[in-house]
Protein backbone atom coordinates (compact mmCIF):
# COMPACT_ATOMS: atom_id res chain seq x y z
CA UNK A 1 0.00 0.00 0.00
CA UNK A 2 2.77 2.39 1.04
CA UNK A 3 4.85 1.39 -2.00
CA UNK A 4 1.99 2.17 -4.37
CA UNK A 5 1.52 5.61 -2.86
CA UNK A 6 5.21 6.45 -3.27
CA UNK A 7 5.22 5.33 -6.90
CA UNK A 8 2.06 7.33 -7.53
CA UNK A 9 3.69 10.42 -6.03
CA UNK A 10 6.83 9.92 -8.13
CA UNK A 11 4.69 9.38 -11.22
CA UNK A 12 2.70 12.49 -10.61
CA UNK A 13 5.88 14.52 -10.01
CA UNK A 14 7.42 13.15 -13.20
CA UNK A 15 4.27 13.77 -15.20
CA UNK A 16 4.11 17.30 -13.87
CA UNK A 17 7.76 17.88 -14.69
CA UNK A 18 7.38 16.52 -18.21
CA UNK A 19 4.28 18.61 -18.81
CA UNK A 20 5.99 21.76 -17.55
CA UNK A 21 9.14 21.07 -19.59
CA UNK A 22 6.98 20.47 -22.66
CA UNK A 23 5.17 23.75 -22.11
CA UNK A 24 8.46 25.60 -21.57
CA UNK A 25 9.93 24.08 -24.75
CA UNK A 26 6.81 25.02 -26.71
CA UNK A 27 6.99 28.53 -25.29
CA UNK A 28 10.62 28.87 -26.30
CA UNK A 29 9.97 27.35 -29.73
CA UNK A 30 7.16 29.84 -30.28
CA UNK A 31 9.40 32.69 -29.18
CA UNK A 32 12.17 31.58 -31.54
CA UNK A 33 9.69 31.05 -34.34
CA UNK A 34 8.39 34.58 -33.77
CA UNK A 35 11.92 36.00 -33.65
CA UNK A 36 12.80 34.06 -36.79
CA UNK A 37 9.77 35.53 -38.56
CA UNK A 38 10.71 39.03 -37.44
CA UNK A 39 14.34 38.55 -38.58
CA UNK A 40 13.16 37.34 -41.99
CA UNK A 41 10.87 40.36 -42.28
CA UNK A 42 13.71 42.75 -41.43
CA UNK A 43 16.02 41.00 -43.92
CA UNK A 44 13.32 41.27 -46.60
CA UNK A 45 12.97 45.01 -46.09
CA UNK A 46 16.73 45.67 -46.19
CA UNK A 47 17.54 46.71 -49.71
CA UNK A 48 21.05 46.66 -51.03
CA UNK A 49 21.71 48.62 -54.18
CA UNK A 50 21.72 46.39 -57.19
CA UNK A 51 25.10 46.35 -58.86
CA UNK A 52 24.96 46.14 -62.59
CA UNK A 53 26.87 43.42 -64.40
CA UNK A 54 29.91 44.35 -66.40
CA UNK A 55 28.66 44.61 -69.95
CA UNK A 56 30.84 45.87 -72.73
CA UNK A 57 29.96 47.60 -75.97
CA UNK A 58 32.04 48.72 -78.90
CA UNK A 59 32.64 52.46 -78.94
CA UNK A 60 31.78 53.51 -82.48
CA UNK A 61 34.31 56.33 -82.71
CA UNK A 62 37.35 54.46 -81.40
CA UNK A 63 36.48 50.79 -81.90
CA UNK A 64 37.41 50.18 -78.27
CA UNK A 65 35.54 47.76 -76.06
CA UNK A 66 34.11 49.97 -73.31
CA UNK A 67 32.10 49.22 -70.20
CA UNK A 68 28.45 50.16 -70.59
CA UNK A 69 27.23 52.80 -68.14
CA UNK A 70 24.51 55.41 -68.01
CA UNK A 71 26.13 58.80 -67.55
CA UNK A 72 24.75 60.93 -64.75
CA UNK A 73 26.05 64.32 -63.63
CA UNK A 74 24.77 63.67 -60.08
CA UNK A 75 26.76 60.44 -59.74
CA UNK A 76 29.86 62.06 -58.24
CA UNK A 77 27.74 63.74 -55.55
CA UNK A 78 26.30 60.37 -54.52
CA UNK A 79 29.78 58.84 -54.62
CA UNK A 80 31.14 61.49 -52.23
CA UNK A 81 28.23 60.97 -49.86
CA UNK A 82 28.81 57.20 -49.64
CA UNK A 83 32.58 57.62 -49.39
CA UNK A 84 32.16 60.16 -46.57
CA UNK A 85 30.05 57.68 -44.59
CA UNK A 86 32.56 54.87 -45.05
CA UNK A 87 35.95 56.52 -45.07
CA UNK A 88 35.82 59.91 -43.30
Amino acid sequence: MFKIEISQVINSILTGFIEKTGKATKFLENQYAELGKQAKEVARTLTYPKVSKWEYEIDTTTGLKVLKSEKDSEALDRLRQIADELLK
Binding site: S52, T62, V66, D72, A75, L79, A83, L86, L87
Partner: protein, 181 residues
Protein backbone atom coordinates in the same frame (compact mmCIF):
# COMPACT_ATOMS: atom_id res chain seq x y z
CA UNK B 1 39.11 73.17 -80.16
CA UNK B 2 39.42 69.42 -79.66
CA UNK B 3 39.13 67.99 -76.17
CA UNK B 4 42.27 66.30 -74.84
CA UNK B 5 42.07 62.62 -73.99
CA UNK B 6 43.39 61.75 -70.56
CA UNK B 7 44.18 58.35 -69.10
CA UNK B 8 43.56 58.51 -65.35
CA UNK B 9 45.88 56.44 -63.20
CA UNK B 10 44.31 54.77 -60.15
CA UNK B 11 45.87 57.28 -57.74
CA UNK B 12 43.94 60.14 -59.38
CA UNK B 13 40.63 58.25 -59.05
CA UNK B 14 41.39 57.51 -55.39
CA UNK B 15 42.25 61.18 -54.76
CA UNK B 16 38.67 62.00 -55.72
CA UNK B 17 37.03 59.22 -53.71
CA UNK B 18 38.93 59.19 -50.40
CA UNK B 19 37.70 62.17 -48.34
CA UNK B 20 41.09 63.14 -46.82
CA UNK B 21 42.79 63.04 -50.20
CA UNK B 22 40.27 65.44 -51.75
CA UNK B 23 42.03 68.30 -49.93
CA UNK B 24 45.48 66.73 -49.83
CA UNK B 25 45.56 66.39 -53.62
CA UNK B 26 42.93 68.94 -54.55
CA UNK B 27 44.32 69.23 -58.10
CA UNK B 28 43.13 65.67 -58.84
CA UNK B 29 39.70 66.58 -57.48
CA UNK B 30 39.51 69.70 -59.62
CA UNK B 31 40.67 67.81 -62.71
CA UNK B 32 37.88 65.24 -62.37
CA UNK B 33 35.34 68.05 -61.91
CA UNK B 34 36.67 69.46 -65.19
CA UNK B 35 36.18 66.07 -66.84
CA UNK B 36 32.59 66.08 -65.62
CA UNK B 37 32.07 69.53 -67.16
CA UNK B 38 33.46 68.35 -70.49
CA UNK B 39 36.80 70.19 -70.49
CA UNK B 40 38.54 66.81 -70.98
CA UNK B 41 37.61 63.31 -72.03
CA UNK B 42 38.93 60.78 -69.49
CA UNK B 43 39.65 57.08 -69.81
CA UNK B 44 40.88 54.27 -67.68
CA UNK B 45 41.14 50.48 -67.96
CA UNK B 46 38.74 47.97 -66.45
CA UNK B 47 41.33 46.37 -64.16
CA UNK B 48 41.90 49.80 -62.55
CA UNK B 49 38.41 49.41 -61.06
CA UNK B 50 39.52 46.28 -59.20
CA UNK B 51 42.62 48.08 -57.98
CA UNK B 52 40.48 50.98 -56.77
CA UNK B 53 38.08 48.64 -54.94
CA UNK B 54 41.01 46.89 -53.26
CA UNK B 55 42.38 50.23 -52.05
CA UNK B 56 38.97 51.28 -50.73
CA UNK B 57 38.66 48.03 -48.78
CA UNK B 58 42.09 48.62 -47.30
CA UNK B 59 41.17 52.19 -46.32
CA UNK B 60 37.94 50.99 -44.69
CA UNK B 61 39.88 48.36 -42.75
CA UNK B 62 42.26 51.08 -41.54
CA UNK B 63 39.30 53.26 -40.58
CA UNK B 64 37.68 50.59 -38.39
CA UNK B 65 41.00 49.31 -37.06
CA UNK B 66 40.98 45.77 -38.43
CA UNK B 67 43.77 46.10 -40.98
CA UNK B 68 45.93 43.49 -39.29
CA UNK B 69 43.19 40.93 -38.74
CA UNK B 70 43.72 38.18 -41.28
CA UNK B 71 40.17 36.92 -41.52
CA UNK B 72 37.61 38.75 -43.66
CA UNK B 73 36.06 41.40 -41.44
CA UNK B 74 34.17 43.80 -43.67
CA UNK B 75 30.42 43.30 -43.87
CA UNK B 76 28.47 42.60 -47.05
CA UNK B 77 26.88 46.01 -46.64
CA UNK B 78 30.24 47.79 -46.46
CA UNK B 79 31.56 45.97 -49.51
CA UNK B 80 28.35 46.60 -51.39
CA UNK B 81 28.65 50.34 -50.63
CA UNK B 82 32.23 50.37 -51.88
CA UNK B 83 31.19 48.61 -55.08
CA UNK B 84 28.51 51.28 -55.41
CA UNK B 85 31.20 53.98 -55.17
CA UNK B 86 32.91 52.42 -58.20
CA UNK B 87 29.57 52.11 -60.02
CA UNK B 88 28.84 55.80 -59.41
CA UNK B 89 32.31 56.77 -60.61
CA UNK B 90 31.69 54.87 -63.83
CA UNK B 91 28.68 57.11 -64.46
CA UNK B 92 30.82 60.26 -64.57
CA UNK B 93 30.08 62.10 -67.80
CA UNK B 94 32.95 62.15 -70.33
CA UNK B 95 34.62 59.22 -68.60
CA UNK B 96 35.00 55.79 -70.19
CA UNK B 97 36.41 52.50 -68.97
CA UNK B 98 37.85 50.29 -71.67
CA UNK B 99 39.10 46.73 -71.93
CA UNK B 100 42.68 46.74 -73.19
CA UNK B 101 43.98 44.31 -75.79
CA UNK B 102 45.45 41.19 -74.15
CA UNK B 103 49.19 41.51 -73.58
CA UNK B 104 51.76 38.76 -73.22
CA UNK B 105 53.90 38.37 -70.14
CA UNK B 106 56.92 38.81 -72.39
CA UNK B 107 55.73 42.30 -73.40
CA UNK B 108 55.33 43.24 -69.75
CA UNK B 109 58.76 41.79 -68.97
CA UNK B 110 60.36 43.80 -71.78
CA UNK B 111 58.75 47.03 -70.63
CA UNK B 112 59.98 46.43 -67.09
CA UNK B 113 63.45 45.68 -68.48
CA UNK B 114 63.57 48.71 -70.78
CA UNK B 115 62.10 51.47 -68.72
CA UNK B 116 62.61 50.41 -65.09
CA UNK B 117 59.06 50.45 -63.83
CA UNK B 118 57.12 47.93 -61.79
CA UNK B 119 55.15 45.23 -63.60
CA UNK B 120 51.79 46.84 -62.75
CA UNK B 121 53.04 50.18 -64.10
CA UNK B 122 54.27 48.44 -67.25
CA UNK B 123 50.76 47.07 -67.68
CA UNK B 124 49.36 50.60 -67.30
CA UNK B 125 51.81 51.92 -69.91
CA UNK B 126 50.84 49.16 -72.34
CA UNK B 127 47.17 50.02 -71.82
CA UNK B 128 47.85 53.70 -72.51
CA UNK B 129 49.73 52.73 -75.66
CA UNK B 130 46.71 50.65 -76.65
CA UNK B 131 44.47 53.70 -76.17
CA UNK B 132 46.93 55.91 -78.03
CA UNK B 133 46.75 53.62 -81.07
CA UNK B 134 43.00 54.23 -81.23
CA UNK B 135 42.81 57.90 -80.29
CA UNK B 136 46.01 59.40 -81.62
CA UNK B 137 47.14 61.29 -78.58
CA UNK B 138 46.57 60.54 -74.93
CA UNK B 139 48.06 62.00 -71.77
CA UNK B 140 48.70 59.67 -68.85
CA UNK B 141 47.72 61.58 -65.71
CA UNK B 142 49.36 60.32 -62.56
CA UNK B 143 51.02 61.56 -59.37
CA UNK B 144 53.54 58.72 -59.40
CA UNK B 145 56.90 60.45 -59.94
CA UNK B 146 58.61 57.48 -61.58
CA UNK B 147 55.74 56.88 -63.96
CA UNK B 148 55.62 60.59 -64.81
CA UNK B 149 59.29 60.73 -65.73
CA UNK B 150 60.01 57.26 -67.10
CA UNK B 151 56.66 56.87 -68.85
CA UNK B 152 57.50 59.98 -70.91
CA UNK B 153 59.81 57.80 -72.99
CA UNK B 154 56.72 56.18 -74.48
CA UNK B 155 53.81 58.56 -74.04
CA UNK B 156 52.83 62.03 -72.83
CA UNK B 157 52.50 62.18 -69.08
CA UNK B 158 51.24 64.91 -66.76
CA UNK B 159 50.69 65.65 -63.10
CA UNK B 160 47.07 66.83 -62.59
CA UNK B 161 48.26 70.35 -61.76
CA UNK B 162 49.64 70.68 -65.29
CA UNK B 163 46.11 70.42 -66.63
CA UNK B 164 44.47 73.06 -64.44
CA UNK B 165 45.20 76.79 -64.21
CA UNK B 166 46.66 76.92 -60.71
CA UNK B 167 46.78 75.03 -57.41
CA UNK B 168 43.40 74.97 -55.69
CA UNK B 169 43.40 77.23 -52.61
CA UNK B 170 42.19 74.40 -50.34
CA UNK B 171 45.12 72.10 -51.22
CA UNK B 172 46.82 71.03 -47.99
CA UNK B 173 49.99 69.69 -49.59
CA UNK B 174 50.77 72.76 -51.68
CA UNK B 175 53.85 73.78 -49.67
CA UNK B 176 55.41 70.32 -50.05
CA UNK B 177 54.40 69.69 -53.67
CA UNK B 178 57.16 70.11 -56.22
CA UNK B 179 54.61 70.57 -58.99
CA UNK B 180 52.74 73.47 -57.34
CA UNK B 181 51.97 76.59 -59.29
Amino acid sequence: MSVSNLFLDTNIILDYIIPLRRDEYACSYELIEKVKKGDFKAWTVDYALSETLGMLKEKREERIGVKDILRETLSTHEISQMVRIIEEFRKTPNFEVFAPEPVSQEEIFKKVQNICVQATDALVLLSVLNLKEKLGNVILVTRDDKLLVRGKRLISTAHPIELIESCPTNCTSKSMCKYHK
